[in-house]
Protein backbone atom coordinates (compact mmCIF):
# COMPACT_ATOMS: atom_id res chain seq x y z
CA UNK A 1 0.00 0.00 0.00
CA UNK A 2 1.27 3.48 -0.78
CA UNK A 3 0.89 4.82 2.74
CA UNK A 4 2.83 1.82 4.05
CA UNK A 5 5.60 2.53 1.49
CA UNK A 6 5.61 6.19 2.47
CA UNK A 7 5.98 5.32 6.15
CA UNK A 8 8.78 2.87 5.33
CA UNK A 9 10.60 5.50 3.28
CA UNK A 10 10.31 8.05 6.05
CA UNK A 11 11.61 5.58 8.63
CA UNK A 12 14.55 4.73 6.37
CA UNK A 13 15.36 8.42 5.87
CA UNK A 14 15.22 9.01 9.63
CA UNK A 15 17.62 6.15 10.33
CA UNK A 16 20.03 7.23 7.58
CA UNK A 17 20.09 10.80 8.78
CA UNK A 18 21.02 9.87 12.32
CA UNK A 19 24.72 9.84 11.45
CA UNK A 20 24.62 13.21 9.69
CA UNK A 21 25.38 16.53 11.40
CA UNK A 22 22.38 18.53 12.54
CA UNK A 23 21.68 21.77 10.73
CA UNK A 24 22.09 24.74 13.00
CA UNK A 25 21.73 28.33 11.82
CA UNK A 26 24.55 30.81 12.41
CA UNK A 27 23.66 33.21 15.22
CA UNK A 28 22.55 36.59 13.99
CA UNK A 29 22.47 35.65 10.30
CA UNK A 30 19.03 35.83 8.71
CA UNK A 31 19.55 34.37 5.26
CA UNK A 32 22.40 32.50 3.63
CA UNK A 33 22.96 32.53 -0.12
CA UNK A 34 25.67 30.34 -1.62
CA UNK A 35 27.34 31.02 -4.96
CA UNK A 36 28.62 27.81 -6.51
CA UNK A 37 29.22 26.20 -9.84
CA UNK A 38 30.91 22.84 -9.98
CA UNK A 39 33.36 24.16 -12.59
CA UNK A 40 36.37 26.25 -11.67
CA UNK A 41 37.21 29.63 -13.12
CA UNK A 42 33.72 30.62 -14.25
CA UNK A 43 33.50 33.66 -12.01
CA UNK A 44 32.03 32.47 -8.71
CA UNK A 45 34.12 34.79 -6.53
CA UNK A 46 33.65 37.73 -8.88
CA UNK A 47 29.88 37.12 -8.90
CA UNK A 48 29.68 36.55 -5.13
CA UNK A 49 31.54 39.78 -4.41
CA UNK A 50 29.38 41.80 -6.77
CA UNK A 51 26.15 40.18 -5.50
CA UNK A 52 27.09 41.08 -1.92
CA UNK A 53 27.88 44.66 -2.92
CA UNK A 54 24.71 44.95 -5.00
CA UNK A 55 22.57 43.68 -2.10
CA UNK A 56 24.11 46.34 0.13
CA UNK A 57 23.78 49.04 -2.51
CA UNK A 58 20.14 48.26 -3.26
CA UNK A 59 19.09 48.65 0.35
CA UNK A 60 21.47 50.52 2.62
CA UNK A 61 19.57 49.34 5.69
CA UNK A 62 20.57 45.72 5.05
CA UNK A 63 23.72 44.28 6.62
CA UNK A 64 25.58 41.95 4.29
CA UNK A 65 28.42 39.56 5.00
CA UNK A 66 30.67 37.65 2.62
CA UNK A 67 32.30 34.33 3.48
CA UNK A 68 35.01 32.91 1.28
CA UNK A 69 34.72 29.14 1.65
CA UNK A 70 37.35 28.43 -0.98
CA UNK A 71 39.99 27.16 1.40
CA UNK A 72 42.47 26.19 -1.31
CA UNK A 73 42.29 29.30 -3.45
CA UNK A 74 40.77 32.20 -1.51
CA UNK A 75 40.16 35.11 -3.88
CA UNK A 76 38.01 37.40 -1.73
CA UNK A 77 40.85 39.22 0.08
CA UNK A 78 42.31 40.37 -3.24
CA UNK A 79 38.95 41.34 -4.73
CA UNK A 80 37.78 43.26 -1.68
CA UNK A 81 41.19 44.85 -1.11
CA UNK A 82 41.49 43.45 2.41
CA UNK A 83 44.58 42.15 4.14
CA UNK A 84 45.72 41.14 7.58
CA UNK A 85 44.91 38.81 10.41
CA UNK A 86 41.46 39.17 11.98
CA UNK A 87 41.30 40.41 15.57
CA UNK A 88 39.75 38.34 18.29
CA UNK A 89 36.79 39.55 20.33
CA UNK A 90 36.70 39.01 24.11
CA UNK A 91 34.58 35.92 23.41
CA UNK A 92 37.39 34.50 21.27
CA UNK A 93 35.51 34.96 18.00
CA UNK A 94 37.24 36.33 14.90
CA UNK A 95 36.16 39.78 13.86
CA UNK A 96 35.41 39.92 10.12
CA UNK A 97 37.32 42.50 8.08
CA UNK A 98 35.15 45.18 6.51
CA UNK A 99 35.34 47.03 3.24
CA UNK A 100 32.67 48.83 1.22
CA UNK A 101 30.34 48.07 4.16
CA UNK A 102 30.59 44.30 3.76
CA UNK A 103 31.89 42.07 6.56
CA UNK A 104 34.27 39.51 5.06
CA UNK A 105 35.97 36.38 6.28
CA UNK A 106 38.31 34.19 4.31
CA UNK A 107 41.05 31.61 4.70
CA UNK A 108 43.19 34.17 2.94
CA UNK A 109 43.29 36.29 6.11
CA UNK A 110 44.65 33.41 8.15
CA UNK A 111 47.56 32.34 5.98
CA UNK A 112 50.20 34.03 3.88
CA UNK A 113 49.26 34.94 0.33
CA UNK A 114 51.52 32.39 -1.30
CA UNK A 115 51.21 29.58 1.24
CA UNK A 116 49.37 26.60 -0.26
CA UNK A 117 46.76 24.75 1.75
CA UNK A 118 47.45 21.12 1.06
CA UNK A 119 44.91 19.51 3.35
CA UNK A 120 42.72 16.44 3.29
CA UNK A 121 38.97 16.59 3.70
CA UNK A 122 38.79 16.28 7.48
CA UNK A 123 41.03 19.26 8.15
CA UNK A 124 39.20 21.28 5.55
CA UNK A 125 35.88 20.50 7.27
CA UNK A 126 37.16 21.75 10.59
CA UNK A 127 38.48 24.94 8.96
CA UNK A 128 35.10 25.57 7.33
CA UNK A 129 33.39 25.01 10.67
CA UNK A 130 35.63 27.68 12.22
CA UNK A 131 34.98 30.14 9.43
CA UNK A 132 31.24 29.64 9.86
CA UNK A 133 30.81 29.57 13.62
CA UNK A 134 33.85 31.17 15.20
CA UNK A 135 33.36 34.52 13.51
CA UNK A 136 31.62 37.47 15.15
CA UNK A 137 29.25 38.14 12.26
CA UNK A 138 26.94 40.33 14.34
CA UNK A 139 23.49 40.80 12.85
CA UNK A 140 23.42 40.09 9.13
CA UNK A 141 20.44 40.17 6.79
CA UNK A 142 22.36 38.26 4.15
CA UNK A 143 25.46 36.11 4.24
CA UNK A 144 26.82 35.39 0.78
CA UNK A 145 29.08 32.34 0.69
CA UNK A 146 31.57 31.93 -2.15
CA UNK A 147 32.04 28.20 -2.66
CA UNK A 148 35.09 26.48 -4.10
CA UNK A 149 34.88 24.60 -7.39
CA UNK A 150 33.79 20.97 -7.34
CA UNK A 151 31.20 18.96 -5.46
CA UNK A 152 33.09 17.67 -2.47
CA UNK A 153 33.81 18.06 1.21
CA UNK A 154 33.36 21.82 1.54
CA UNK A 155 30.06 21.91 -0.32
CA UNK A 156 28.74 18.96 1.67
CA UNK A 157 29.90 20.35 5.02
CA UNK A 158 28.32 23.72 4.43
CA UNK A 159 25.04 22.31 3.11
CA UNK A 160 24.75 19.89 6.01
CA UNK A 161 25.75 22.28 8.79
CA UNK A 162 23.70 25.40 8.14
CA UNK A 163 20.29 26.09 6.62
CA UNK A 164 20.76 27.68 3.20
CA UNK A 165 18.08 29.98 1.77
CA UNK A 166 19.21 29.36 -1.77
CA UNK A 167 22.04 28.62 -4.16
CA UNK A 168 23.08 30.59 -7.23
CA UNK A 169 24.95 28.58 -9.85
CA UNK A 170 27.39 30.42 -12.08
CA UNK A 171 28.55 29.05 -15.39
CA UNK A 172 29.98 30.08 -18.74
CA UNK A 173 28.17 28.89 -21.87
CA UNK A 174 30.99 26.40 -22.64
CA UNK A 175 29.93 22.73 -22.83
CA UNK A 176 32.48 21.45 -20.31
CA UNK A 177 31.46 24.18 -17.86
CA UNK A 178 27.78 23.34 -18.32
CA UNK A 179 28.45 19.66 -17.59
CA UNK A 180 29.93 20.62 -14.23
CA UNK A 181 27.22 23.20 -13.52
CA UNK A 182 24.62 20.50 -14.09
CA UNK A 183 26.45 18.35 -11.53
CA UNK A 184 26.48 21.29 -9.13
CA UNK A 185 22.70 21.67 -9.49
CA UNK A 186 22.31 17.90 -8.97
CA UNK A 187 24.38 18.13 -5.79
CA UNK A 188 22.19 20.86 -4.33
CA UNK A 189 19.14 18.79 -5.16
CA UNK A 190 20.65 15.85 -3.27
CA UNK A 191 21.28 17.91 -0.13
CA UNK A 192 17.89 19.66 -0.38
CA UNK A 193 19.18 23.18 -0.99
CA UNK A 194 16.87 25.22 -3.25
CA UNK A 195 18.61 26.50 -6.39
CA UNK A 196 17.56 30.10 -7.01
CA UNK A 197 18.80 30.11 -10.57
CA UNK A 198 21.74 30.26 -12.96
CA UNK A 199 24.00 33.14 -13.87
CA UNK A 200 25.51 33.09 -17.35
CA UNK A 201 28.98 34.61 -17.09
CA UNK A 202 31.43 35.50 -19.86
CA UNK A 203 28.55 35.27 -22.31
CA UNK A 204 29.88 37.58 -24.98
CA UNK A 205 33.01 39.59 -25.71
CA UNK A 206 32.77 42.95 -27.43
CA UNK A 207 35.90 44.22 -29.14
CA UNK A 208 36.78 47.61 -27.64
CA UNK A 209 37.88 48.91 -31.05
CA UNK A 210 35.32 47.76 -33.59
CA UNK A 211 32.53 46.67 -31.21
CA UNK A 212 32.26 43.30 -32.97
CA UNK A 213 30.70 40.73 -30.64
CA UNK A 214 32.19 37.26 -30.26
CA UNK A 215 30.68 34.51 -28.17
CA UNK A 216 33.99 33.05 -27.08
CA UNK A 217 32.52 30.34 -24.89
CA UNK A 218 29.49 29.66 -27.05
CA UNK A 219 26.10 31.28 -26.76
CA UNK A 220 22.93 30.40 -24.91
CA UNK A 221 24.45 27.29 -23.35
CA UNK A 222 23.32 28.38 -19.91
CA UNK A 223 19.85 29.30 -21.18
CA UNK A 224 19.45 25.76 -22.53
CA UNK A 225 20.65 24.23 -19.27
CA UNK A 226 18.23 26.43 -17.33
CA UNK A 227 15.39 25.18 -19.48
CA UNK A 228 16.45 21.54 -18.95
CA UNK A 229 16.65 21.98 -15.20
CA UNK A 230 13.58 24.21 -14.92
CA UNK A 231 15.55 27.08 -13.40
CA UNK A 232 15.57 30.84 -13.94
CA UNK A 233 18.40 32.78 -15.51
CA UNK A 234 19.25 35.33 -12.85
CA UNK A 235 21.69 37.28 -14.96
CA UNK A 236 23.82 37.45 -18.06
CA UNK A 237 27.26 38.97 -17.63
CA UNK A 238 29.54 39.76 -20.57
CA UNK A 239 33.30 39.12 -20.69
CA UNK A 240 34.46 42.65 -20.08
CA UNK A 241 37.97 43.74 -19.27
CA UNK A 242 36.63 46.20 -16.67
CA UNK A 243 35.22 43.40 -14.53
CA UNK A 244 38.53 41.57 -14.42
CA UNK A 245 40.67 44.70 -13.93
CA UNK A 246 38.56 46.08 -11.10
CA UNK A 247 38.51 42.73 -9.32
CA UNK A 248 42.27 42.31 -9.59
CA UNK A 249 42.76 45.77 -8.13
CA UNK A 250 40.33 45.29 -5.26
CA UNK A 251 37.62 47.67 -6.43
CA UNK A 252 34.82 45.43 -7.71
CA UNK A 253 32.89 46.81 -10.64
CA UNK A 254 29.59 47.24 -8.75
CA UNK A 255 31.31 49.73 -6.49
CA UNK A 256 33.74 51.42 -8.86
CA UNK A 257 31.59 51.64 -12.00
CA UNK A 258 27.98 51.13 -10.98
CA UNK A 259 26.60 52.75 -14.11
CA UNK A 260 28.52 50.74 -16.68
CA UNK A 261 27.04 47.93 -18.74
CA UNK A 262 29.29 45.51 -16.93
Amino acid sequence: SSSGDEALREKRARILSRGLPKQKPIEGVKQVVVVASGKGGVGKSTTAVNIALALAANDSAKEVGLLDADIYGPSIPKMMNLKGNPELTPKNLMRPLKNYGIACMSMGFLIEETAPVVWRGLMVMSAVEKLLRQVDWGHLDYLVIDMPPGTGDVQLSISQNIPIAGAVIVSTPQDVALLDAHKGAEMFRKVHVPVLGLVQNMSVFQCPKCKHETHIFGSDGVKDLAKTLGLDILGDVPLHINIRETCDSGQPVVVSQPQSDA
Binding site: G38, K39, V42, V176, K190
Partner: protein, 159 residues
Protein backbone atom coordinates in the same frame (compact mmCIF):
# COMPACT_ATOMS: atom_id res chain seq x y z
CA UNK B 1 49.58 -6.18 -9.40
CA UNK B 2 50.38 -2.85 -7.73
CA UNK B 3 53.65 -2.25 -9.48
CA UNK B 4 52.77 -4.31 -12.50
CA UNK B 5 50.11 -2.08 -14.01
CA UNK B 6 52.30 0.99 -14.03
CA UNK B 7 55.53 -0.91 -14.68
CA UNK B 8 55.23 -0.34 -18.42
CA UNK B 9 54.86 3.45 -18.05
CA UNK B 10 58.13 5.30 -18.58
CA UNK B 11 57.25 8.85 -17.51
CA UNK B 12 54.37 10.42 -15.59
CA UNK B 13 53.49 14.11 -15.95
CA UNK B 14 51.09 15.84 -13.56
CA UNK B 15 49.11 18.84 -14.86
CA UNK B 16 47.88 21.12 -12.13
CA UNK B 17 47.18 24.75 -11.38
CA UNK B 18 45.59 25.63 -8.05
CA UNK B 19 43.04 27.87 -9.76
CA UNK B 20 40.09 26.44 -11.60
CA UNK B 21 39.10 27.09 -15.15
CA UNK B 22 42.55 27.96 -16.50
CA UNK B 23 42.70 25.17 -19.06
CA UNK B 24 44.24 22.15 -17.33
CA UNK B 25 42.03 19.57 -19.06
CA UNK B 26 42.33 21.35 -22.40
CA UNK B 27 46.10 21.46 -22.08
CA UNK B 28 46.37 17.83 -20.91
CA UNK B 29 44.37 16.70 -23.91
CA UNK B 30 46.37 18.78 -26.39
CA UNK B 31 49.66 17.69 -24.80
CA UNK B 32 48.67 14.05 -25.09
CA UNK B 33 47.64 14.50 -28.72
CA UNK B 34 50.87 16.34 -29.53
CA UNK B 35 52.99 13.61 -27.96
CA UNK B 36 51.04 11.00 -29.89
CA UNK B 37 51.63 12.96 -33.06
CA UNK B 38 55.35 12.82 -32.26
CA UNK B 39 55.08 9.05 -32.22
CA UNK B 40 55.00 8.40 -28.47
CA UNK B 41 52.72 5.97 -26.69
CA UNK B 42 50.50 8.09 -24.45
CA UNK B 43 47.88 7.66 -21.74
CA UNK B 44 45.71 10.18 -19.89
CA UNK B 45 44.50 9.72 -16.34
CA UNK B 46 41.68 12.11 -15.40
CA UNK B 47 41.57 12.35 -11.59
CA UNK B 48 39.09 15.22 -11.54
CA UNK B 49 36.38 13.16 -9.88
CA UNK B 50 33.88 16.00 -9.46
CA UNK B 51 34.22 17.47 -12.91
CA UNK B 52 35.69 14.99 -15.40
CA UNK B 53 36.02 16.92 -18.64
CA UNK B 54 38.35 14.79 -20.74
CA UNK B 55 35.86 12.18 -22.03
CA UNK B 56 33.71 15.00 -23.37
CA UNK B 57 36.70 16.74 -24.98
CA UNK B 58 37.64 13.58 -26.86
CA UNK B 59 34.02 12.72 -27.62
CA UNK B 60 34.06 9.38 -25.86
CA UNK B 61 31.71 10.21 -23.01
CA UNK B 62 29.43 7.32 -23.90
CA UNK B 63 32.14 4.66 -23.76
CA UNK B 64 32.17 1.87 -21.20
CA UNK B 65 35.08 0.42 -19.29
CA UNK B 66 35.78 -3.28 -19.46
CA UNK B 67 37.70 -5.65 -17.22
CA UNK B 68 40.60 -7.86 -18.12
CA UNK B 69 42.98 -10.11 -16.15
CA UNK B 70 45.11 -7.26 -14.88
CA UNK B 71 42.25 -4.92 -14.06
CA UNK B 72 40.32 -2.23 -15.91
CA UNK B 73 40.95 -1.66 -19.58
CA UNK B 74 41.29 2.04 -20.41
CA UNK B 75 39.26 3.52 -23.23
CA UNK B 76 41.33 4.09 -26.36
CA UNK B 77 40.82 7.45 -28.02
CA UNK B 78 42.25 9.62 -30.75
CA UNK B 79 42.28 9.20 -34.50
CA UNK B 80 44.22 5.95 -34.36
CA UNK B 81 42.59 4.86 -31.10
CA UNK B 82 46.01 4.70 -29.52
CA UNK B 83 45.73 7.04 -26.54
CA UNK B 84 44.64 5.27 -23.36
CA UNK B 85 42.18 7.24 -21.22
CA UNK B 86 40.73 6.54 -17.78
CA UNK B 87 38.25 8.85 -16.10
CA UNK B 88 35.42 8.58 -13.61
CA UNK B 89 33.27 9.91 -16.45
CA UNK B 90 33.10 6.38 -17.86
CA UNK B 91 31.94 4.88 -14.59
CA UNK B 92 28.88 7.09 -14.10
CA UNK B 93 25.45 5.82 -15.04
CA UNK B 94 24.56 9.09 -16.72
CA UNK B 95 27.02 11.81 -17.74
CA UNK B 96 25.06 14.31 -15.64
CA UNK B 97 25.35 12.33 -12.41
CA UNK B 98 27.02 14.35 -9.67
CA UNK B 99 29.90 12.80 -7.73
CA UNK B 100 29.44 14.24 -4.27
CA UNK B 101 32.06 12.38 -2.26
CA UNK B 102 34.15 13.11 0.76
CA UNK B 103 37.91 12.69 0.85
CA UNK B 104 38.34 9.04 1.90
CA UNK B 105 36.10 7.77 -0.90
CA UNK B 106 37.97 9.85 -3.45
CA UNK B 107 41.24 8.55 -2.07
CA UNK B 108 40.10 4.96 -2.55
CA UNK B 109 39.06 5.49 -6.16
CA UNK B 110 42.28 7.28 -7.07
CA UNK B 111 44.31 4.41 -5.65
CA UNK B 112 42.29 2.09 -7.87
CA UNK B 113 42.83 4.25 -10.91
CA UNK B 114 46.54 4.10 -10.32
CA UNK B 115 46.97 0.43 -9.49
CA UNK B 116 44.04 -1.35 -11.14
CA UNK B 117 44.08 0.05 -14.67
CA UNK B 118 45.94 -2.00 -17.27
CA UNK B 119 47.90 0.84 -18.85
CA UNK B 120 50.25 -1.40 -20.80
CA UNK B 121 53.43 0.03 -22.35
CA UNK B 122 53.37 3.82 -22.36
CA UNK B 123 56.06 6.47 -22.88
CA UNK B 124 54.01 9.15 -21.12
CA UNK B 125 51.08 9.14 -18.73
CA UNK B 126 49.51 12.61 -18.39
CA UNK B 127 47.54 13.11 -15.18
CA UNK B 128 44.88 15.84 -15.27
CA UNK B 129 43.98 17.11 -11.80
CA UNK B 130 41.05 19.16 -10.44
CA UNK B 131 41.49 22.75 -9.16
CA UNK B 132 42.84 23.23 -5.65
CA UNK B 133 45.45 21.41 -3.62
CA UNK B 134 43.33 18.85 -1.86
CA UNK B 135 42.57 15.18 -1.37
CA UNK B 136 42.82 14.27 -5.04
CA UNK B 137 46.26 15.82 -5.34
CA UNK B 138 47.65 14.35 -2.14
CA UNK B 139 46.26 10.91 -2.97
CA UNK B 140 47.52 11.00 -6.55
CA UNK B 141 51.05 11.96 -5.59
CA UNK B 142 51.14 9.39 -2.80
CA UNK B 143 49.88 6.64 -5.08
CA UNK B 144 52.32 7.56 -7.84
CA UNK B 145 55.36 8.12 -5.63
CA UNK B 146 56.87 4.64 -6.10
CA UNK B 147 56.80 5.16 -9.88
CA UNK B 148 58.68 7.37 -12.33
CA UNK B 149 57.07 10.74 -11.62
CA UNK B 150 58.69 12.99 -14.22
CA UNK B 151 57.29 16.20 -12.86
CA UNK B 152 54.43 18.65 -12.90
CA UNK B 153 53.30 21.30 -15.36
CA UNK B 154 51.55 24.33 -13.88
CA UNK B 155 48.88 26.05 -15.93
CA UNK B 156 47.64 29.55 -15.27
CA UNK B 157 46.13 32.59 -16.96
CA UNK B 158 47.67 36.06 -16.53
CA UNK B 159 44.85 37.29 -14.23
Amino acid sequence: AERANLAGVRHIVLVLSGKGGVGKSTLSTELALALRHAGKRVGILDVDLCGPSIPRMLRVQDSAVHQCDSGWVPVFVGQDKAIALMSIGFLLERPDDAVVWRGPKKNALIKQFVSDVAWGELDFLIVDTPPGTSDEHISTVEALRPHQLLGAVLVTTPQ
